[in-house]
């Protein structure tokens, strides 16, 4: 009678001593460990049986939680290199399991095109999604933006915007598109796109990422306006952003991604952060 009692109390005591460091260890594990190993979709498809859709949602959630954690850490100014290939792999697995999962396409568009710089992958996924979600105007809308903004393929972009307009029943996208189908409208196009998405977003992590990007582009727009004013005034392009600040045309811009804005020789505004958090060295998004 005494031995079990002793065992119960002592094990409970040691458990209480252990649980703190244990939880701490789990919390501080590297992100790649937290995102975890996910078997290939071929294996998942077999094991998931009639729970493929849930498994797909689970994978997307996993990526989203991971991404949410990253955004939070960046806020606290902890430099963490996100593991984009792992995220991309999970998203690909998700759409293999459930080709209809909109969250997966949406997230892929949000991350792959901007943060990873793999617009080709994002477009591939969007095309994949359009085969299934034949009723959905958002997919062609994203694809249209990608082609216009990133690839400057205005003809293809118009086709996608056209389709988005037909599916949504709004001519808005068609009309809007026309205005931005040129180099000069790029920044405004991006701001428009981002603020539309930002308003409709309820997931805080994603919303935060839109807000950051929106701030960055608003900064770019400010610089562009100052640049154009400088050109009007002096008849030539400014040499640097500092010049604009010295002339009193601009208050110093801040890159929310931690980079520095600069002017390219042709006068285009760029930033050392490339509008993304630092990527893991040498990491490439997984190829499908």
């Amino acid at each position: 009678m005494r031995t079990p009692l002793l065992l119960t109390t002592s094990s409970l005591l040691f458990y209480l001593l252990l649980i703190g460091p244990f939880a701490g260890y789990l919390q501080n594990r590297p992100f790649i460990e937290r995102i975890g190993y996910v078997p290939s979709f071929k294996v998942l498809k077999l094991v998931a049986a009639d729970h493929k859709e849930v498994t797909a949602s689970f994978l997307v959630m996993k990526v989203l939680m991971y991404f949410g954690g990253l955004i939070e850490l960046t806020q606290n100014e902890v430099a963490v290199a996100p593991d984009y290939p792992a995220m991309s792999r999970l998203i690909h697995n998700a759409v293999e399991l459930d080709p209809y999962n909109m969250d997966a396409y949406y997230f892929a568009q949000a991350i792959l095109s901007w943060d990873v710089g793999r617009v080709d992958l994002a477009n591939k996924l969007l095309d994949h999604g359009m085969q299934y979600r034949t009723w959905d105007w958002q997919l062609p809308y994203f694809a249209g933006f990608n082609h216009a903004y990133f690839l400057k393929d205005y003809a293809t972009a118009s086709r996608y915007y056209q389709r988005a307009g037909e599916l949504s029943g709004f001519d808005l996208y068609k009309n809007l598109a026309g205005r931005y189908m040129q180099e000069a409208g790029r920044t405004e196009l991006a701001i428009r796109y981002l603020s539309t998405l930002e308003q409709g977003e309820k997931n805080l992590a994603i919303k935060k990422s839109y807000q950051l990007r929106l701030i960055a582009f608003q900064e770019v727009q400010r610089i562009e306006v100052a640049r154009d004013e400088y050109q009007k005034k002096f008849g030539r392009l400014p040499a640097s952003i500092d010049q604009l600040v010295q002339e009193g045309l601009l208050t110093p811009p801040v890159d929310p991604y931690g980079g520095n804005f600069y002017l390219q020789p042709d006068g285009k505004v760029a930033t050392t952060s490339k509008f993304a958090f630092a990527t893991k060295e040498g990491s490439e998004p997984a190829q499908k």
């Binding site: 498809k45 077999l46 094991v47 049986a49 009639d50 729970h51 493929k52 859709e53 849930v54 949602s57 959630m61 989203l64 459930d98 209809y100 999962n101 909109m102 969250d103 949406y106 997230f107 979600r133 009723w135 959905d136 958002q138 977003e201 309820k202 997931n203 994603i206």
Partner: protein, 263 residues
């Protein structure tokens, strides 16, 4: 046989299986909250979660209720008394099976109601872009029940083959996984990717495809979640497949059970 059915049903209810289901069904309460994690498809996620929870409950029921139904009767020696009555072994088996099937149907009605409430609630929080197709959700539930009733028949077949409960329980799980995968394997070997396989492997895989139950036909989750239309003739064929396959498995089980020695 009707008295066997009612005795079986009483047994299931008095063993508190239904209470167990209701406890598990409390998870339904979490679904609307979890669905809010979705960025673009809150309603769709709530349907996904609810349907998957239903499937999970039915899977557990099929394996642990269906798989231990006969084993328990024999292990606890109830079968001596019952089979000593002027009842054929076949009608004993059929009565037990019908009892479980009926219980599944009742459970489906309750869980279906829970599903509808949860999805309705989630869709009122964030109205989906496309209206929820309630009739497809109901259809999906109905076919899910059919699938798991078929699985119970397989569990019964395993129970007649073995005196322990290991074969019924693990055999049923194995068949469940295999039955969900056969269509994929079949599609794979008949695609260009399958050309590298030897003819023998192809034939063996095709043979298994025709032998094993095809559970993917009963899976209408994608249709229910995204409101995709279903093929009427395809569903009719699936119902026919269910009836024939279940009858075949059950009669085989009855054949084996009739020869079984009740030592």
């Amino acid at each position: 046989m009707t008295s066997m059915i009612s005795v079986t049903l009483k047994g299931i209810f008095r063993d508190r299986v239904f209470q167990g289901i209701l406890m598990t069904a409390l998870i339904f309460l979490l679904i609307p909250t979890v669905s809010l994690l979705s960025m673009r498809q809150v309603t769709e996620l709530s349907i996904t979660l609810a349907l998957s929870l239903n499937s999970l409950i039915f899977l557990l029921l099929s394996v642990f209720l269906g798989g231990t139904m006969l084993w328990k009767d024999i292990e606890r020696r109830y079968s001596y008394g019952v089979l000593g009555l002027p009842m054929t072994r076949s009608s004993y088996l059929a009565g037990k099976f019908a009892g479980v099937a009926l219980f599944f149907l009742l459970t489906a009605i309750v869980l279906g109601a829970a599903t509808f409430v949860v999805v309705f609630f989630a869709s009122s929080l964030y109205p989906p872009e496309r209206p929820v197709q309630w009739e497809i959700i109901a259809l999906c539930l109905f076919f899910d029940v059919m699938k798991y009733v078929l699985l119970v028949a397989i569990a019964f077949l395993f129970s007649t083959l073995s005196t322990s409960f290991f074969l019924p329980v693990f055999g049923t799980i194995a068949i469940f996984l295999a039955g969900g995968a056969t269509q994929q394997v079949y599609d794979y070997i008949h695609s260009t990717a399958g050309d590298t396989l030897t003819p023998l492997v192809k034939q063996a895989a095709s043979g298994l495809y025709y032998l094993l139950p095809n559970f993917s036909a009963f899976d209408l989750k994608v249709n229910a979640i995204y409101g995709l239309s279903t093929s009427f003739s395809g569903l009719l064929l699936t119902i026919g497949y269910f009836l024939l396959y279940t009858t075949f498995i059950l009669s085989l089980a009855a054949l084996i059970f009739s020869r079984r020695e009740m030592r």
